[in-house]
Amino acid sequence: MLSSQIKSNEIVFGSCNKDLLEEIIFYGIGLGADFVEIFIENTDNSSVLAEEDFITSVSPSFGRGAGIRIFKGKKDGFVSTNDLTKHGLMRSVSQAIEMLDITDNKKEVFNGLNQHRDYSLSKKKWINEVPSIHEISEKLLLSTKSLKKNNKIITRKGSYSRNLQEVIIASSDGTYASDIRLHQTVGLNVIASDAQYRSSGSRRFGSSGMPNEFRLWDHEKSANDVFESSMNMLYADYVDAGQMPVVLANKFGGVIFHEACGHLLETTQIERGTTPFENKLNEKIAHESVTAIDEGISEGSFGSLSVDDEGMEPEKSVLIKDGILKKFISDRAGELRTGHKRTGSGRRQNYSFAAASRMRNTYIAKGEHSKEDLINSISEGLYCKSMGGGSVGATGQFNFAVEEGYLIKNGKLTSPVKGATLIGEAKEVMPKISMCGNDLELAPGFCGSISGSVNVTVGQPHIKVDSITVGGR
């Protein structure tokens, strides 16, 4: 008797919480909410840092919390808490109701939760299958050792992080789902120095739902890649600024599409009135060679999900087809406020954020050209082999740092150059992507926005932009 009482008064992970969740939702609907959503998570994370030939940091963490969202009309109130007792959750519902100042007597109907969709069944063993800290440490030390290729390398770092997140999602439309998500990333960084010259190199790799992936990581290959990049850039001159054609490499080159265009296709941007594409559905917004996709279903990709943070299975959304805008990325609030159907893209960093429309695996589809075709077509320009981060301003202008760049002269790659920044505006640059390569590849990353930092994949084949402003010195 005592045991069942305890269970019914607190969320217990791995157990059926249906009665308690229904009670909380009934409570919110009874107080006049149009819609009640409960998101609960339990996390178990760890990270390890190797510097030179030592492990210098091991940081485990764990936690749990709930985010409760109440809608009334198009307004929403969101309350997060670490208190997962019935009392704590009901108090959060009351707080959200009070914030929204709900006073009318109109009551929505809640018919109870649907059958539980449990996406976690085959994933409960993951926690025992991921590499141990000992195993991670050994491999990271091997990777930093592999970076020690000459005495110009003055700093070597290898880092690993693992996030295991167990979620329960329930809402007054009957949604009741649970899942376990596993994300692992590993990164390598070096700084090279020779007299007054300095350069750096870095690469990051990541996966979702693949406990064995870190064991399969080819650290030698990655170390060679990072080392070569830093050596190539060590004596590079600063690039001359100006307007020029550029070729952007595949994989992380896709960060520009993600930042400069992808964000403008999220319904949160329509809600704010900050996207130039708001009324452009079925109109041409890009060169006809461009087809762009956002999806959450590629197995193992960093942005893939079994179910989004609002309980919807992710779909494959063709955003742009042959240059024509076909779809926006939408979540529940986006559908309510803009009319664009949900795409399984409601995402959040953790329980303390309300979900928002966010990208998952976002990429430009492959074309028919080889990388050489693209470079050969340029008499003077820039090849951006590796991109750093970037940002997009409130009115759509973007800028991105080029981590590893090479001048193109007469259709050939020539000397390495540093200090380049690509500057432009999505609306103007998208029509200038005139050639897409046939070598689509994806790369993992983290995207920060309104609902926090989420795991994403960016990607593209090699692409040619006919003209863009390159910042330099």
């Binding site: 485990p60 764990f62 307007q243 009135g273």
Partner: protein, 450 residues
């Protein structure tokens, strides 16, 4: 569970696990925030959050750590156990100890703690601010990024040798970013952020006025020709640059080989003798001030650059020991203890030496670029290499007129920038990240579309 109870629970659980040496940092917060969209409440948010970070030392004096939001009796026990396991992988190459200053008295500073005004009042204030901002100019069509929040939090540090510190405070923030549109022109956007101890302390009118003036001043824009220009950095933009390259003063970064400085850089001349830079977390204008750092070391004012020369580095306990000095109150609490500045204060030294004092942003009639705000710092700064290439908002002053600059970047090297400071204006301005006067730098590269 309150901070005293947490300390008791940790003591009990540590005894049970035979852990003799431990410390912890905890924070408890309640936050409330609102956003509006054309007069309507858009999202109203409240959160209650607690975070506990525990470090333990094992018998080999190696440190392990765990962080959790589960501050229950079982959560604390689990955290101690995990930290103990993690200590097997503690850094053998660099030890960590308690700060020798963790029990030193803390400098008294008046704590301005406010009571919550509540979501309804926050909403009313923000709605009014949005309306006023939109009405301030016909071109301002919306305020797409806006928010008003208030936070109440408590922070605690304690260790097994009896150190115990805690403080609680309140803070409120308002941000308004307007979007202006005119026919046949690109939309322009700018904004303002204001902080206060509570919502009633925020100067909302000043925030509206600043957001409006900034946005309107960018309506007439033009691209700029790529070239080298005389630059005037606004206080905010100069502080952004100094913070971005603060690894020059950071002992942790020096040890890790990612700083432009080295252990012998104290005394190195970086700039004109007219330049002084301090880190002053306790400054009366710093609303976010904290009286102690993650290791319990008291916060204090520290001179980083004195008359153009590096005077001090910022330290944690372990970096201070390596440098044979004392901790400076700039540590975090982590498996590898981070070090970061609190609040930068830039000053002109008493003797003005070789400055071109005719350069004043409000009176100078020659050609120069005024950099109001630097963007994309995370992408455009290579702190370990000293280089930067950053987009900015600003104006070109030419022939007595000023025009907003469209899509441009400023690029250079931090050491070059500091060496080429040609004037430091007399009047300082308070920003959300520190205090600085306007700073003039000769010959920096600007890339534009023209």
């Amino acid at each position: 569970m309150n901070s005293k109870e947490i300390t008791t629970q940790i003591t009990k659980a540590a005894d049970f696990l035979n852990l003799k040496k431990w410390d912890y940092g905890a924070s408890f917060s309640n936050d409330y925030s609102v956003q509006v969209d054309k007069g309507e409440a858009k999202q109203l948010k409240a959160s209650q959050k607690q975070i506990l970070t525990i470090r333990v030392w094992n018998q080999s004096n190696l440190v392990g750590i765990t962080t959790t939001s589960d501050i229950s009796e079982s959560g604390i026990k689990k955290a101690l156990k995990q930290a103990n396991i993690a200590s097997d992988f503690g850094n053998k190459n660099e030890s960590t100890e308690f700060s020798p200053l963790a029990k030193d008295p803390i400098k008294d500073k008046e704590v301005k703690k406010r009571n919550p005004v509540g979501i309804k009042k926050l909403l009313t204030l923000l709605r009014e601010a949005e309306v006023k901002l939109i009405e301030s100019h016909e071109s301002i069509k919306s305020v797409p990024y806006n928010g008003l929040s208030e936070s109440f939090f408590e922070r605690v540090y304690a260790n097994s040798e009896g150190a115990f510190r805690s403080y609680s405070k309140s803070q409120a923030a308002l941000y308004l970013y307007a979007r202006a549109e005119e026919k046949n022109k690109k939309p322009r956007s700018s904004g303002s952020v204001k902080l206060g101890y509570g919502a009633d302390d925020i100067d909302i009118e000043a925030c509206i006025k600043e957001a409006s003036n900034k946005t309107i001043s960018h309506l007439n824009y033009s691209s700029i020709k790529t070239n080298k220009y005389l630059i005037c950095f606004s206080p905010e933009s100069f502080l952004t640059i100094i913070n971005a390259f603060s690894s020059m003063f950071n002992a942790r970064s020096i040890i890790d080989g990612v700083s432009l400085s080295n252990k012998n850089s104290i005394g190195e001349k970086l700039s004109t003798e007219a330049l002084n830079i301090y880190d002053d977390g306790l400054h009366e204008k710093n609303i976010s001030s904290t009286p102690f750092d993650g290791e319990g070391t008291p916060t204090k004012r520290l001179c980083l650059i004195n008359r153009g020369r590096i005077e001090n580095f910022i330290h944690s306990e372990s970096t201070a020991r390596i440098f044979k000095t004392t901790p400076t109150g700039h540590a975090g609490l982590g498996s590898k203890v981070s070090v970061s500045p609190d609040w930068i204060v830039v000053e002109k030294s008493e003797e003005n030496f070789d400055l071109k004092t005719s350069l004043d942003h409000s009176t100078y009639e020659g050609e120069f670029v005024y950099i109001e705000e630097l963007n994309a710092i995370h992408a455009g700064v290579r702190a370990s290499q000293g280089s930067f290439s950053l987009p900015f908002d600003g104006w070109l002053y030419k022939n007595g007129k000023k025009i907003s600059i469209e899509s441009a970047t400023v690029a250079g090297d931090i050491k070059y920038l500091l060496k080429n400071i040609v004037n430091i204006e007399s009047s300082q301005e308070v920003t959300t990240s520190g205090i600085s006067p306007h700073i003039w730098v000769d010959e920096l590269s600007i890339t534009g579309d023209a």
